[in-house]
Symmetry: C2
Subunit: 211 residues, 2 copies
DNA sequence: CCCTGCGTCAACCGATCGGTTGACGCAGGT
DNA sequence: ACCTGCGTCAACCGATCGGTTGACGCAGGG
């Protein structure tokens, strides 16, 4: 028994919460066929370690406190051929879309059962996709009725809006005319299904479209 | 060695994320002198199990998805003499204040080192308070300059505001005059340090004053 | 008993917003 | 070459907002 028959899947953890990381480490170490080869507390660290350790799977949280977020880290890691499995709390449309767009292999919620996590890690190691049921539903729903996506510019406007700025101030901040701001706002209202600025900010914060 | 010299501290976990719970379980079981006697996935469950199991410490997350939140659960558990140690992601003013007000014995962030968690659990078991450094800072700051607290009524107004309602609609919804709404809004602006409704919603969402 | 905080209401004003219509240039894709 | 999406701008209107001042009743604490 000096030979390992099935080599363990080498996993890199990325989560800014030390306690959660430690917990996952303890949890995964108890699972057969999975070996945690590294931990990262930030997106930058994850990118560096992914390159250095070349794990089979990176278990990635999206919310990473300061620095680049999980989506950006995924965007940098995925092209190197390392599979990224997103494990996060949020099941909002915007997060899922961005993560998939960034090249995530799978998307699991922390509310998922541990066995699901284990099998998702196995799946991800082979490049197969696993989605938590609620996430899958959202993806399906979006396929059916492609939900409006805010453009870059509109997000900028929204950002200023959330600062409580008036149209004139927004116009000055972005070097455009007040009329343009109003045009954008109108489209934003349409896409978000609201008709006031306060409502727009509210929805934006809920959908996590803003920081 | 049939006798246990120092009986283990009996801990009840409460977190709506199964993976996190499993992780914490694995982590705490590896710690000497700590024994996890139960797990709850909701506030209601935590209240019931706390009464039934009478643990030494309840490790409580604040965000619990559906049902009552961690603060409410704490409010119900604390009076029974069971110590509640809050372990959460958020270090916002409002959360800390509410948790302490509800009777939490300590307040730790998930970003804390596991050793801190262990010692905080020991401390909590004896009724001693442990605060994460950032949390302690916030508490101190608040002592120095008692930050404006929104009244019940103002929070109601704020809630309507976040729905994107106009003053007239808010007035109707709360059975008061439009003038009163404006008066409240003026005070809300003052307290939140903004001067527009969009700004107020933004700050409110950031401070987690609203759902 | 007085004072403070809270919630309520009124009337006024200028500034701003929300909605509309119509238009132009530019890029990317077919 | 065409079309679509995006970003830009203009002018207009009524409705709404933000700010102000002043006022009342009621509860709780000193």
């Amino acid at each position: 028994m000096t030979e390992i028959e099935t080599p363990s899947i080498r996993v890199l953890l990325c989560d800014d919460h030390v306690v959660v990381r430690a917990g996952l480490l303890a949890l995964l170490d108890s699972a057969p066929g999975i070996e945690v080869v590294g931990e990262a507390g930030s997106g930058e660290e994850a990118v560096a370690l992914a390159e250095k350790l070349r794990p089979d799977v990176v278990l990635m949280d999206l919310q990473l406190g300061a620095g680049i977020d999980g989506v950006e880290a995924t965007r940098q890691i995925a092209p190197t051929g390392v599979h990224v499995l997103v494990l996060t709390t949020y099941d909002t449309d915007a997060d899922i879309t961005r993560a998939i767009g960034a090249g995530a292999t799978g998307y699991l919620l922390k509310a998922e059962r541990p066995e699901e996590l284990f099998s998702a890690i196995h799946a991800a190691a082979q490049g197969r996709t696993t989605l938590s049921p609620p996430v899958a539903s959202i993806v399906m729903a979006r396929m059916r009725s492609p939900q409006p996506t805010l453009t870059e510019r509109e997000l900028e406007i929204l950002g200023q809006l959330a600062q409580g700025l008036g149209n004139r101030d927004i116009a000055r901040a972005l070097f455009i005319s007040e009329a343009t701001v109003k045009t954008h706002l109108g489209r934003i209202y349409d896409k978000l299904g609201v008709d006031t600025r306060a409502g727009a900010v509210s929805v934006a914060k809920e959908q996590r479209l803003l920081g």
